[in-house]
Subunit: 195 residues, 2 copies
């Protein structure tokens, strides 16, 4: 079923996605029915199908939108040029972007297993595109002599995991401001990559 | 119900835990019933209760055993003394230990949300104990001048996330041996912590 346009679905659409994201993150995709999502939004189950084909489409759209937003936001922010400056911008961006989307990040990792094969391939391609952004900066920095990485791909994966890990332990109002965390992480990442 | 001893449950127990771990990792705790676990083991649902009180006890025991095994294995291996040597041993140990237990690691992260409050507190304490092992090595190294870490706790969290991240991308038979990955990760970790 094609996605309907018009005032009703334009209002309901974002609410459906928000409710599904909240429920998937708390209970897991497999445990959440379309009926449960409808109840959370406060509409009849049938009304959901004005917005989405089925639960799988809802999961895929959510995960795809998350990755597209990540890639677009970085493209917008990327200063270009000097790899060291680009990597610092990326480190700070990555931490902020992911901290602001805890549920989406959790789902992006946890629900890969629940994607259909075609959807899995599509999401994996988006993930690879982001990994290649980081790897590209490291490769450029290796070529320019700014970085002493042995394997740009492996170092990119190490950096991404370290940065996304902030989501698992950082709590607002805790001992350190997010800005301070960014500073210290950037210092660690930079040192890990230079000679 | 107390856990029964004897030949029947001693054979079934490990099979129940293995089946539950496999199913929880693939489908998620919420989507897996005791009946499903029994079918995977090849016993009647009632037989599961000879081994475990309920599904929550199964999840808790699994997560607790994973953390206890991690702490015990490190205690066994810890060379003591020089913080740099201890950290190198820990980095290599952490990568190997987690790579050998992909399902348990996935569940340890993903199913925290499905623990009862008391069980959550208990598992969190185990996790903190391991974080403190890493933090302790970094603090010792800071005191001895081996490491230039600003915040030992934060650096410990960064290192742990980076190392556990190997699970999400490393594939056996791929471009790099796990030994080579250990080498490069240790090099990155070491550099990220020195002056």
């Amino acid at each position: 079923m094609a996605r309907k346009t018009g005032s009703h679905s334009e209002i309901t659409g974002p609410r459906v996605r928000a409710a599904a994201e909240r429920l998937f993150a708390r209970q897991g995709y497999a445990a959440v029915s379309m009926r449960k999502i409808a109840a959370e939004v406060g509409v009849q189950a049938g009304a959901l199908y004005l917005y989405t084909k089925d639960k799988q489409a809802l999961l895929f759209d959510m995960m795809d939108a998350h990755m597209v937003a990540l890639l677009d936001a970085w493209q917008e922010l990327d200063p270009g040029g000097d790899p060291m400056m680009r990597l610092e911008a990326l480190v700070r961006f990555h931490i902020r972007f992911h901290m602001e989307r805890q549920d989406a990040v959790f789902i992006a990792y946890m629900e890969l297993r629940n994607l259909t094969p075609d959807n899995y391939v599509a999401i994996t391609a988006r993930r690879k595109a982001y990994e290649q952004v980081v790897e590209g900066i490291l490769s450029d920095g290796k070529a320019s002599g700014a970085f002493a990485v042995e394997d740009a791909h492996l170092s990119a994966m190490a950096v991404i995991a370290m940065l996304t890990g902030v989501n698992t332990w950082y709590r607002e109002g805790g001992r350190l401001s997010l800005e301070r965390v960014e500073e210290i992480y950037w210092d660690m990442v930079r040192k890990s990559l230079v000679g």
